[in-house]
Symmetry: none
Subunit: 123 residues, 10 copies
């Protein structure tokens, strides 16, 4: 089992396909680089999703978040990129990704993106 | 009366079949093992339900939660497993199970699963 | 006027029959016995109701709550029992009874039961 | 890349055109002058928007907010002016601008203005 | 091992005689009777001590606190009585007992009693 | 046993003469009249003392506090009067009386008075 | 009995000359005028004192505080003036006056002044 | 009376020379420029002092704080400069100046400087 | 490098022998068994120390805390045992161990033990 | 002026040599690598100091903290290393460095180290 940063996301079969349920991750340890200046950016990411046929494996999610450490990304793009990669890997019924970035230039930025429709049964 | 951990859940007849009412448990003392590394995981479980014909007995619920102590489980699976076992034992009108797991790899995970429809009368 | 514990609930005529209004009691001094082990249980009870033709008299409510001191009761049953007795005594338009029990076996239990429909005018 | 205050707002192409998502900025470092007395005013600005084809670039937003430093503006006018300039620059699907001004003459003023319709998918 | 209420307090040998250390108990489930009216009283007890040669065993402390349930006691007396009994049982270097009683006659009463001197090493 | 308001304070023998301990009462239900206008005043009284040979009995304290209901008293005087009466009745080693009066004429008043020296052993 | 604003402070004989005790007033309803601009200023005053032979009467204190309404005063001066007037009227053992003024010109000002020595017995 | 920013600080004679008292200002509306980049910096200043023969006039303090708006200053220097200027203007018995600066480069900076000895009488 | 629970504590040379500094650990994931009933106990441990020549390695501390999972221990003993083992392994200048145990039998227990003298330089 | 991470710390002459004053930095954006596993660690650093002849320049401090991003360090060592480097660069009268590290292996670690004596004048 790899312990190196990686863009590949391991998945496992949703243990209860068909049941409406929800998984929520809070990840305060995200850092990447500013694509303009090369200086480090920091953020807390919050991810919530309702799985369809697959779930994302926790350790691979950690290594995936780690994989941005030496890459340059804009706030809006990296938040959507993380949503894209997770959607491509597990095709969830519904997913929300929120990137909450530390102050830069006196401005605190939060980006929130959604995929799919939140089922009514999920309260 | 057993005092050993056990997957069997004792039940008793709902003392007021037909009345809409709700039972809520908070259980901060849950531990199991990581199925990949064998290392201990810890969680707080919150369970709410509207009973139909049966209720779950409190001491057997304690022994049931204890029974996971030496077993390996993924977060998503064990939360759904607890919901499955409780549904199989008491067939509630509505039930919610929330597993709130301690930080692993810098990630805080919460899993919430539901069974049935919450009656309108239950506020 | 008796000062002994008693299951009988004194009532008085609702002083404003027809007006939608609400009465709320918080009773932190409830104790009964566990029907399995005989050990004491403790709870805080919260009762809210919209009266119809009768109200419950405060001192008799105190003696009523006291009357459970030496009796064995399960959490779910005693909460419903208190709702039943109050409904039988005063026939309220709407009533909610919540029993909030101290930790037993590492589990904190709350039971909430309802009778009737809460009028729209009562917010 | 300029580091001088400027009314021109740099933009970049929305990296996920078509996806419903939201960007939120909190900017506690805003100051301009009172158009009547020439004395400095201070405010915290909060901006939220759902992008259409363009996003506003963070550093140019900082320089834009800075550009008001030596200008005289009324509270109501400058809040709407910022909304106008941002709408002209990026044509968002929906945008909210809130100016929260420090106490003047014992009065705390907040101005909130909106453009467009908030999509249902954005929760 | 008894599970009946009892005034006898089991002890065990202090596992580190000579080391300055401290043990603190919070016991929110205390009830006795008013010696004048026979009505139930409720209290939370807080006990802190620095052991000498003996410690008090937790389960026997629970049964000891339970043993007051059907006895009549004044607040001042029962707090001192609990301190006396604990001092007689384990002879601590220092002990504090606080009884925090629920409102009676509109009066909230707290009684605090001490035995011995708190060692300087205990911070 | 009287249940009428009375200035006489019943006492009982300190159950542990010689031990340093402390008794604290909080009495949120005090009312008297303004000696100038006859309008009702309300206060919360807080009393703490270290007993010498006598303690004050709780119910008589309630009746004593009640006895001021139809009497006119200035805030400073009634706080000291209560301290005087308690000192005369039980001669404590140390006592503090605090009267915390509701707003009158836009002014919130608190009066604190002391008798004797607080023993070092009382922490 | 006057109900007009007045600089004269009525006093009454300290009901317990010789006893160390303390009186505390909080007066959130103070207003005067700025001596430069004539605009109204607002403040909360907090006064604490240990009386010697005289106490200040509450209603006259209200009328005294009211008497500043149409007068122009600097913050530092009016706080000391109130302390001076109170000291002249009642000659307390110790007194503290704190004026906590609303924001003016973006500046929040608090002035605290003292007279005499706080007795050791006053805790 | 000037309403332009100015480094000159108006003073007035301490209205109670010889009395120990204290004046506290909180000034959240400070801005200057970074001497390296020319970009604006923002801070909240807190000033406390015990006056000797002179006090600083409030409006001139506002204009003084305003006078830094277009000047370049390092955090450490401007905080000491403000203390120096105030000490030069009014020669206080004791003074504390705290500059609490907004985040720059991910670092939140606070500078605190003192002049003279705080008198014992000032609590 | 082992990943199994173990009573052996790895150490490393204090990187700054002679400098007064302090290390603090909070460990909310501790569980052992009750030596009387075999039922699981849970606690949060807090450890603070001033190192002398050795420090305790973080991963071995985790494995050490894990090693109690299947052992029976009284609260007082296990807290002192952990202090003993850490003192034996690293011989700190000063150490504090606090075990904060979940409610058992309605009683919340905290045990605090100390070794050595806290240096004055450590604030 | 460099914008690359660097271990060299720029300094400037203390603008008020001889005055007791204090500078405090909070730096929530620190990351380095675990020297055992190569995985990223995150921390918030808090630094306070009383300067002697030199101060540390803010931007170079940011680049210095950034310079640990790709290096492996133990928590205890890196906290002392930062203190050592700052002491070598500016020789402060007194300095405190606190590293507050994110949870690893279920353990939250804080390291605090000191250099020199805090002057009495610095409150």
């Amino acid at each position: 089992m790899s312990t190196q940063p990686s863009k590949s996301l391991d998945t496992f079969t949703n243990p209860r396909i068909g049941r409406p349920y929800e998984i929520e991750f809070e990840i305060p340890e995200f850092t990447c680089l500013c694509p303009k200046t090369g200086q480090p950016d920091f953020a807390t990411f919050r991810i919530r999703y309702v799985p369809d046929r697959l779930c994302v494996e926790l350790k691979s999610l950690k290594l995936y978040m780690w994989s941005f450490r030496d890459e340059g990304h804009f706030h809006e793009d990296v938040t959507n990129r993380i949503l894209d990669d997770l959607v491509a890997a597990i095709g969830p019924t519904w997913m929300e990704v929120e990137g909450d970035f530390y102050v830069r230039g006196g401005i605190h930025t939060v980006v929130r993106a959604w995929h799919g429709d939140r089922p009514d049964e999920v309260e």
